[in-house]
């Protein structure tokens, strides 16, 4: 471009160059458009087919959200999503019980206590937990965790005389455990980022007032990072709701029966603990599992069962999208701004 002579050629041969610059610009803009088209595609596909589903005489919108039975293929067909939502709630709640504490404590350790060397080893190892394919987690739950849990339960029942139910081949508890393990890195890495970005001056101020490291960690750093922690929890739960293969393999294909609800003080409805244990010890299909089952059994297209796939998918999409948006909003709205 530059030439060696005394008078640089400032005008140059711009024709080809202009063509080149704008060719690349519009080619790259075309790439960026693809992400918008993906969103349009997802929403379009889900809404069009879900609308056809609700237009069919076999089901109404009210029935879809209130009926307590889901059997798309067996006569009489019924498309109540409630059992599937109960299954999803069971698995997600169990996974959250595993992942929230086991994700938050490492975040505190990595951000406050760990030496640089420990951190550089521990952090990638935690990330590995999210890198294992979910179908492999499902296999682990089915083949190793469920038999191991059954041994523990029999031992407990024998030693303590408890009446814990033994687990079926497919059960909610092993699915909850593996989904929980899978989402640990999500909680730990986002929470740790939030805690690491708490400015050091706050910690120094705490030490200056005579606080111990323990006090500084729990009373200063964690409260200051609470928006990031909350957003990590919500993201992790949203991931657990959308989790598919681990639950398909571990929790089986039968939706849970909705248990009788008890009422405390005539006001607060609750599920008896025994019923809850029963739910976890048996097959607990989630929304995602129901979708896989329909896809495996009936892909010819056009049938009501096939279209219910998109209605469930739409419900799932809306739930996870709302949770992701809430998580974003919490992270930005309630973030403590420091200089």
């Amino acid at each position: 471009m530059s030439n060696e002579g005394q008078t640089p050629d400032l005008t140059g041969d711009r024709g080809l160059q202009t063509v080149r610059e704008s060719t690349y610009k519009y080619a790259l803009a075309g790439c960026a458009l693809l992400s918008v088209l993906t969103t349009v595609g997802i929403i379009g596909v889900l809404f069009v087919d879900a609308a056809e589903f609700f237009a069919s005489p076999a089901v109404t919108l009210g029935e879809f959200f209130t009926s307590t039975r889901f059997s798309p293929n067996l006569e009489p067909v019924s498309f109540g999503i409630l059992p599937l939502i109960l299954g999803t709630l069971l698995i997600t709640f169990g996974a959250a019980l595993v992942a929230l504490p086991i994700g938050l404590l490492p975040a505190i350790y990595l951000s406050e206590y760990a030496s640089e060397r420990t951190r550089s080893v521990l952090k990638p190892m935690l990330e590995v937990l999210a890198g294992v394919p979910t179908v492999v987690y499902g296999y682990f739950a089915l083949v190793y965790i469920t038999p191991a849990l059954n041994v523990v339960i029999r031992t407990l029942n024998g030693a303590l005389g408890t009446q814990l139910p033994t687990l079926g081949l497919f059960n909610g508890i092993s699915a909850s455990i593996v989904v929980g393990i899978m989402i640990i890195p999500m909680v730990s890495s986002i929470s740790e980022d939030a805690m690491s970005s708490v400015p050091d001056s706050l910690r120094q101020a705490g030490y200056g007032l005579g606080a111990t490291k323990f006090n500084v960690s729990l009373r200063i750093v964690v409260p200051a990072a609470v928006s990031g922690i909350a957003s990590s929890f919500i993201l992790a739960i949203s991931r657990a709701i959308g989790e598919t293969m681990a639950v398909v393999l571990a929790a089986g294909s039968r939706p849970p029966d909705i248990p009788p609800t008890q009422t405390a003080f005539g006001l607060i409805p609750y599920i008896a603990p025994g019923d809850l244990l029963g739910l976890y010890s048996e097959s607990a299909a989630t929304m995602t599992v129901a979708m896989i089952n329909i896809a495996v059994s009936d892909l010819s297209g056009g049938s009501t069962a096939y279209q219910s796939l998109f209605a469930i998918g739409l419900t799932l999409f809306v739930i996870t999208l709302v949770m992701n948006v809430i998580s974003d909003a919490i992270a930005s709205r309630y973030r403590e701004e420091y200089e």
Binding site: M1, E21, V36, V128, V132, Y139, V143, M291, I292, G313
Partner: protein, 545 residues
């Protein structure tokens, strides 16, 4: 806090803090420990270590494990040796994976005639143009010409398939692969020797000649091995041999790193000695489910005959297509959003919306992407005037690859954006200051600096793509298939799909044997990909300033 009644002034009970510290540390290990135990179980089952005798374990502990531990202890405090060992291991792994993929793509899938045609019409012009661009930096038309070659080359290739196919048939398969792999490989070796190692002219010439000579000299030896074809030998020699040779030469050249060469010596030597001793003693050996038969045969109802071959080929197909789609569109999107898109005004709002949109797409469950693929690639029938688009088939290679590409595209875009953002603005300003245009700045300044980050992100996202099962089920991929896919519009099965199908079989031998072997294969592929990604990142992090 301070318990001032029992301890004196200025003294604080440390018990609480210490307990908490170890509690958090313990919690960090819980997940890792759980996964470690599960992995130990599945490797134990897949490799059939149950049936190995004590003698076998003792032998390999002495010949392989103890020297390896010794090497690790030695390398622990010598970063140069560690770096050298990582380079040797990483390039061997990468070369092994690449040559495996190349054998499957060039020899099994394409075959010599198709490969030779597209080599002449697409690969050779592209490489030629690229080299000319490196040689004559002022030729501004080279980039556009390469873009043109990408578009025109495949069309020309398809038209000329007959002519070049006849030429290829005359050359014979080994001739084709010699011309298209060994000769360029020799050129690359000579270039590396001259450019990286600053070798003298004579050494450079020798290096350039060694590869073809080795290739031809190896032929009589290769012919004695029944399963090894000459074409395979050429591919492995070039694609595995070059990186390994480079790593070994680079390590041997630096005295501080030289000790790293002990690692491959220990691994190979220890294995050979172990084999010999075990054979001589007649010790009981493990009976692995994961063996050559497993990798080369299709699935079967008999556990002993079941294999993963069609699924492996299907996954290779997917990974190649997905990596092309996502790299092109992912990097393109990231470049547009970071370098071109307006940041303010009405269009600035649009840019922000696209960014929010991408981060939300990354959180959409994979099963919903399956529905998207089902909706736009399978069950669709739209008419644009005379053109009818009726999808690209249920469970075909192309449908699966496009669906998985859409699934990981947001992840690739986000990581590429981070990598591009980390290039300091001063570098861009300096480039503009010297009169470079926006594209020249991107090509010469931004892309070279951000490429390691982009590659790391892309490889990690590809790892997610090969493990995904739910979208494949949704688009109608079959669970049981006895032949590998033959083309883009053929149906496929993939490794996770096959694992899913097998996992429901009740037989113990399937559950604890065949599926375990499938899981271990998948995990080994993932592990190799992730280690390559980490190596890329580490290598370039050291060089960044």
């Amino acid at each position: 806090m301070a318990t001032q009644t029992e301890t004196g002034f200025g003294q604080v009970s440390r018990l609480q803090g210490t307990v908490f510290k170890y509690l958090t540390f313990g919690a960090s290990l819980v997940g890792i420990f759980a996964l470690g135990v599960l992995l130990a179980y599945v490797f134990w089952d897949a490799l059939g270590l149950d049936s190995a005798g004590t003698v076998w374990y003792l032998t390999y502990t002495v010949t392989l494990l103890a020297p390896l531990v010794g090497f690790l202890a030695y390398a622990r405090d010598r970063p140069e040796v560690t770096a050298g060992a990582l380079e040797v291991v990483g390039l061997t792994l990468a070369g092994g994976m690449l040559s495996f993929a190349a054998i499957i793509v060039l020899i099994v899938i394409a075959g010599p005639q198709v490969w030779f045609t597209y080599f002449l019409t697409v690969v050779a012009p592209l490489v030629g143009l690229f080299l000319y661009g490196q040689y004559n930096r002022e030729a501004t038309w080279v980039g556009l010409a390469m873009l043109g070659a990408v578009v025109v080359g495949p069309i020309a290739g398809t038209l000329l398939l007959g002519t070049f196919g006849t030429v290829a048939a005359l050359l014979g398969a080994p001739g084709v692969y010699f011309l298209s792999l060994v000769v360029p490989g020799a050129g690359l070796a000579a270039f590396l020797a001259a450019d990286r190692f600053e070798a003298s002219r004579r050494v450079t010439a020798t290096v350039g000649v060694v590869l073809p000579v080795l290739a031809i000299a190896g032929v009589p030896l290769v012919d004695t091995v029944p399963v090894l074809a000459r074409s395979v030998w050429f591919a492995v020699l070039v694609i595995l041999g070059l990186p390994v040779g480079y790593a070994v030469a680079n390590t041997a050249r630096q005295p501080a790193r030289r000790a790293a060469l002990a690692l491959p010596a220990i691994a190979v030597g220890g294995f050979l000695v172990g084999e010999f001793v075990v054979g001589a003693l007649g010790a009981a050996q493990p009976s692995p489910w994961l063996d050559w038969q497993f990798l080369t045969s299709p699935t079967s109802s008999l556990p002993a005959n079941a294999g993963l071959y069609p699924a492996v080929i299907g996954s290779v197909f997917l990974i190649i297509l997905v990596s092309i789609f996502t790299f092109v569109f992912g990097v393109g999107t990231a470049l547009y959003l970071e370098e071109y898109a307006p940041a303010s005004g009405l269009f600035g709002t649009a840019t922000r919306l696209i960014n929010v949109n991408i981060s939300n797409l990354a959180g959409v469950p994979s099963v919903v992407y399956g529905l998207l693929g089902l909706g736009i690639f399978v069950n669709i029938n739209v008419q644009f005037g005379p053109v009818v688009y009726a999808g690209i088939g249920a469970g075909t290679v192309l449908t699966a690859a496009l669906t998985l590409s859409l699934l990981i595209l947001p992840i690739v875009v986000i990581s590429a954006q981070e990598a591009i953002r980390s290039v300091p603005d001063s570098l861009r300003q300096a480039s503009y200051g010297m009169g470079a245009t926006r594209w020249q700045t991107i090509r010469n300044v931004v892309l070279p600096r951000s490429l390691p980050g982009i590659l790391t992100g892309t490889i990690l996202a590809l790892g997610r793509a090969i493990g995904e099962t739910a979208p494949l089920i949704m688009i109608g991929a079959v669970g049981t298939k006895y032949t590998p896919p033959g083309g883009l519009f053929d149906t496929l099965t993939a490794m996770p799909m096959q694992i899913y199908t097998w996992a429901f079989l009740p037989s113990e031998e399937f559950r604890y044997g065949v599926v375990a072997a499938g899981v271990v294969t998948l995990l080994i592929v993932l592990l190799s990909m992730n280690s390559v990604a980490i190596l890329v990142r580490n290598k370039y992090q050291q060089e960044a300033y």
